[in-house]
């Protein structure tokens, strides 16, 4: 058993330690897997833990270091930017050697036959795959309660949700069962769980990261992005996965800038001259908790202290964001999910009477209630006679939202809102009321509709509950450098410790607690 505590190591530390020989990638992987073994039974961040893939990847890193030294090369120049860094992968991204289930019964036994581009790039940079992370079924949800395999628990409070849909990806990083992870964000599915688990969570510009190999939800909205416990790690992870991909016709051709350097500049140089806009109309919206609002206002003051020019801005069209999103997202999803029909793979009903019966019952059995709801919503919205009134109008709203952002970014470099209107809610608290749940993403959805990048960074703990609050920092198209700079400056100023207190360990008498005591 390894001697060190992986929760104290960032990805940057791990790579440095591996490069210099302070420890091996295998030691990091083993320590991480031990922590998974201890904590996973209570957190349930993973659908599948992949110790064999992890150790294989870790050994590959260690042997390339040995080879580099044997060849008289500096391992620093040879090893990937994420060498030895343990990573969780959302279970909607394909990786050969794993099942890709999307937390859905219909894909429960689906084995990947090819690799998702972003996952491939992450592993090519030396990351060590720890497992496939739990999620809301097909990414439909904001709490991970919609998983067919049971909810993920928030490491800050096991009675609470970690957010969603990338709840497993957020929880595993929060609980240090992985150092970084990949999630996907269609309406807030990276940023909102980031906020609820006190992690750094990035939704890149649409097209910045290839979507190839990530099971599609809303094709015009989906974007893969990283979770980490520091802005620097999230920047390094995005740098590894970003860039054009010939397999994704919507991936952008733009070169990938040095995000890590941008984060470093922000951390050391403050925010002098940065034009920061606080989005007042969204901040004042009903449903936003007072403590969340106060944290964002506090963030604005911190920026001012750091030398930023802080102003106010409104995004009026974003009031239509939720409605537009719940047309466009389900419309695209209803089509994207059609292929799960029991014909070629996935769940198929026993003894179908004919092909229609096969389709109908396989799908009825294989999809959970929220998937069925979204498929029905989307099918309705695209139906003859309704298309213009729903899809057509939603696209118009989307254009207006885009125009709001374009105009705001003429005056500001970054915009601030809360990431989520509330801190993590209790498991079961909102699951009876889909509309209430949909409101969780009111701040994140306009970002997807516009296609701009945004990051959620911890903005401190809520005074009453002790739970993390997330600050959403939005930037202009492909201005991830500015976004990372601003986020790193803020992170440095508030000195947030992203590790949850792990209160549950003693309370539950888990193996983790025993391990901690030893």
């Amino acid at each position: 058993m390894s001697e060190f505590d992986v929760s104290r190591l960032t990805g940057a530390h791990i790579r440095e330690g591996v490069v210099t020989g302070q420890f091996t990638a295998r030691e990091v992987a083993e320590a991480t897997l031990a922590r998974v073994e201890a904590l996973e039974p209570t957190v349930h961040a993973f659908n599948q833990v992949t110790p064999e893939l992890a150790l294989e990847a870790a050994d590959a890193v260690d042997s390339s270091r040995a080879q580099a030294i044997a060849d008289g090369l500096d391992p620093r120049d040879v090893l990937g930017a994420l060498a030895g860094v343990p990573a969780g992968i959302k279970d909607n991204m394909n990786l050969v050697g794993t099942r890709t289930t999307c937390s859905a019964k219909i894909l429960e036994n689906y084995e990947s036959v090819y690799d998702c581009t972003a996952v491939r790039r992450l592993l090519d940079a030396g990351a060590v795959p720890i497992g496939k992370c739990n999620m809301d079924e097909f990414a439909f949800g904001s709490s991970t309660e919609n998983s067919a395999f049971g909810p993920t628990h928030n490491p800050w409070d096991l009675e609470r949700v970690p957010g969603g849909s990338s709840g497993g990806s957020a929880a595993c990083v929060s609980a240090s069962m992985a150092t970084i992870s990949l999630g996907s964000d269609t309406g807030g599915s990276i940023r909102q769980p980031g906020a609820l688990t006190g992690t750094v969570a990035v939704k890149p510009t649409y097209g910045r990261v290839s979507r190839y190999g990530c099971v599609a939800f809303g094709s015009s909205l989906d974007q893969i992005g990283p979770f980490a416990r520091t802005v620097e790690d999230s920047a390094a992870a995005l740098a590894a996965i970003a860039g054009a991909d010939p397999m994704d016709a919507t991936s952008a051709q733009q070169a990938v800038p040095n995000y890590v350097r941008a984060a470093a500049e922000g951390a050391t140089g403050g925010a002098k001259g940065l034009r920061v806009g606080i989005v007042t109309d969204l901040l004042q919206a009903d449903g936003c908790s007072g403590e969340v609002r106060a944290a964002v206002e506090n963030a604005a003051r911190i920026y001012a202290d750091l030398g930023a020019e802080v102003g106010e801005v409104t995004l009026p069209a974003s009031a239509h964001g939720l409605s537009a999103y719940y047309i466009i997202g389900p419309a695209e999803a209803s089509s994207n999910l059609a292929r799960f029909d029991g014909i070629r793979y996935g769940h198929r009903v026993e003894d179908p009477t004919d092909v229609l019966d096969l389709y109908m019952r396989s799908r009825a059995e294989g999809f959970g209630p929220e998937s069925i709801r979204r498929i029905m919503l989307g099918t309705y919205a695209l139906s003859a006679g309704y298309y213009e009134a729903y899809y057509g109008q939603a696209q118009k709203a989307r254009t207006l939202i885009k125009q709001d952002f374009e105009s705001a970014f003429k005056d500001f470099d970054v915009l601030l809102t809360p990431t989520s209107p509330t801190v993590a809610f209790k498991i079961g608290e909102k699951s009876a009321d889909p509309l209430e749940m949909y409101l969780s993403d009111v701040y994140t959805i306009p970002v997807n509709l516009a296609g701009i990048p945004a990051i959620s960074v911890p903005a401190g703990l809520c005074p009453s509950s002790g739970l993390p609050i997330g600050l959403q920092i939005m930037a202009d198209y492909f201005a991830e450098e500015t976004m990372f700079m601003a986020a790193a400056a803020f992170e440095a100023a508030i000195e947030f410790d992203a590790r949850p207190p792990l209160r549950y360990e003693s309370a539950r008498g888990t193996r983790a607690a025993q391990e901690e005591r030893r």
Partner: protein, 499 residues
């Protein structure tokens, strides 16, 4: 006869026909949205990948060649090329469609409008009619279902079905015509001419047998002079031009008889059964799908610049009509010969190749050999011109041997048969067989003398005015010279000696 019955029916009724013609872009190396090879047949499910199998997470990347080929097709029939276009998703469930939606085009096809002028009939009844094209769009082909346990592979009575996805994702062009067609013959002529144009463009092998060109028809009837359209039926499974003609003819007759006997046509899809010579109902339109089209979000829209469109236009080859006109006007062929030669891509390419070797002066002679000797040979051997041993250069050489007087036209026929059988050059054949034509007047005179000596009564008869005996003397002389005498010289000498 159905033909007579059709003529009868068309005295009382006007048929209104529109065609939907699907053509696979078989010249594309790869499928529409992935790198899998395009081709007919093969072991089932061997030309597949995550993209054309629609595996979770796979994304389509458009095949630029296929887009260009479609635009080229549009330019060839004078369509307007869209400056802004995009793919849409056509959503419906069917097991041969891996994603349960087809990437197709909806309100923004690549090619809008266009037309073809079609010659119908021969001789006095011939006429030309313009068939307008509504649009050409690009989509992906589906896989193929194999129904097991039922009759003739049809789904009725099958116990189970298999799917082969080799064809899934093949680039597929769909052309839709206006309801401008009035007879089965017009439909056939249109489809034939369109096929010829597609072949000239080199975008598809247009094999109706292998399904790389598939013609469906919408047909309805109305009384002559009416302007309202009748209820239409869609006819599928017409896998040859003959089937297209016959399927339409039978459907028109069926509709007319149905209405005349007090019934009415229902909107439905009907299947042409070539064996039974009838159409049968496949599905009624009440089961029609709501395809829920919406813009394909996995691809960015296409913006075609004027420059790009012009660059594609510059790639247009000579089209069949222009080719036919050139054969008549520049090469002096008869309209009939020009029509036949220009109606076949391989034939016209062969002819043009011979022209470039032998020059325009030999056009008539080459065309003559091609349309007689070569056509007969290909027909007997049941091979295509591309498989023939006879090359354009060989035909040119053959014509030169005749023109130069080395061999007679009659000998040329023998040489042709020989070179078709062996692949030897005409010169070599003439050499080996000792077939050189004798133009030596002395030898001819001697032969004629022998003939005249042997046939004194015929000589007398001729001189007594029975000049028709000249043929007899020519024949005898040629026989005497084993067919190798120059017939022109034989004639001259005979006339002199007998006179």
């Amino acid at each position: 006869m159905a033909k007579d019955r059709l003529a009868q029916v068309l005295e009382d009724w006007e048929a209104v026909i529109g065609l939907e013609i699907h053509t696979e872009i078989t010249s594309s190396n790869t499928k529409m949205f992935c790198g899998c090879p395009v081709g007919f047949g093969g072991e089932p499910n061997t030309r597949v990948c995550p993209v054309c199998l629609g595996l979770p997470g796979a994304l389509p990347v458009p095949n630029e060649y296929a887009v260009e080929a479609t635009v080229l097709a549009g330019l060839a029939i004078e369509s307007t090329i869209a400056r802004w276009s995009q793919f849409h998703r056509k959503n419906y469930f069917y097991p041969d469609m891996p994603k349960d939606y087809q990437i197709s085009q909806y309100d923004l096809p690549f090619c809008d409008g266009g037309h073809l002028d079609v010659q119908v009939g021969e001789g006095d009844g011939a006429y030309e009619t313009r068939i307008c094209v509504t649009r050409i769009h690009l989509e992906e082909d589906t896989g193929k279902m194999v129904h097991v346990g039922g009759a003739e592979g049809r789904i009725a009575g099958a116990t189970h079905s298999l799917v082969d996805f080799n064809r899934a994702g093949t680039p597929l062009m769909e052309l839709v015509t206006e309801p401008d067609i009035r007879t089965p013959e017009e439909a056939r002529r249109f489809a034939q001419k369109l096929r010829l144009i597609w072949l000239s463009l080199g975008i598809s092998d247009c094999s109706m047998e292998e399904g790389s060109m598939r013609v469906d028809a919408n047909v309805s009837i109305r009384r002559p002079g009416e302007t309202e359209l009748g209820t239409k039926a869609e006819i599928k499974n017409m896998n040859s031009f003959r089937a297209l003609h016959d399927g339409l003819a039978h459907e028109i007759i069926r509709q007319a008889e149905l209405v005349e006997s007090g019934g009415h046509v229902v909107q439905e899809t009907r299947h042409w059964d070539v064996g039974a010579k009838r159409t049968s109902s496949l599905r009624s339109k009440e089961e029609a799908h709501d395809y829920r089209y919406f813009p394909e979000p996995d691809m960015v829209p296409f913006q075609f610049s004027e420059e790009w469109i012009e660059a594609v236009r510059a790639k247009l080859p000579e089209l069949p009509d222009a080719k036919k006109a050139r054969f008549v006007e520049d090469l002096g062929l008869s309209g009939y010969d020009a029509a036949i030669l220009s109606a076949d891509i391989s034939l016209s390419a062969f002819f043009d190749s011979a022209m470039s070797i032998g020059g325009a002066a030999k056009a008539k002679a080459i065309a003559n050999i091609m349309l007689n000797d070569l056509a007969a040979y290909l027909n007997t051997e049941a091979i295509s011109i591309d498989e023939s041993r006879v090359t354009p250069a060989m035909l040119v050489e053959l014509v030169e041997l005749v023109d130069g007087g080395t061999i007679s036209s009659k000998q040329a026929k023998v040489v042709f048969s020989e070179m078709a059988a062996t692949g030897d050059s005409p010169g070599a054949i003439v050499e080996i067989k000792g077939m050189k034509q004798v133009s030596d007047t002395g030898a001819i005179e001697q032969a004629i003398d022998r003939v005249m000596t042997a046939n004194p009564s015929e000589v007398e008869g001729y001189r007594g005015g029975k000049t028709t005996l000249l043929g007899f003397f020519v024949g005898q002389t040629m026989k005497e010279m084993r067919g190798q005498a120059n017939p022109k010289l034989v004639n001259e000498v005979l006339l002199r000696k007998l006179g």
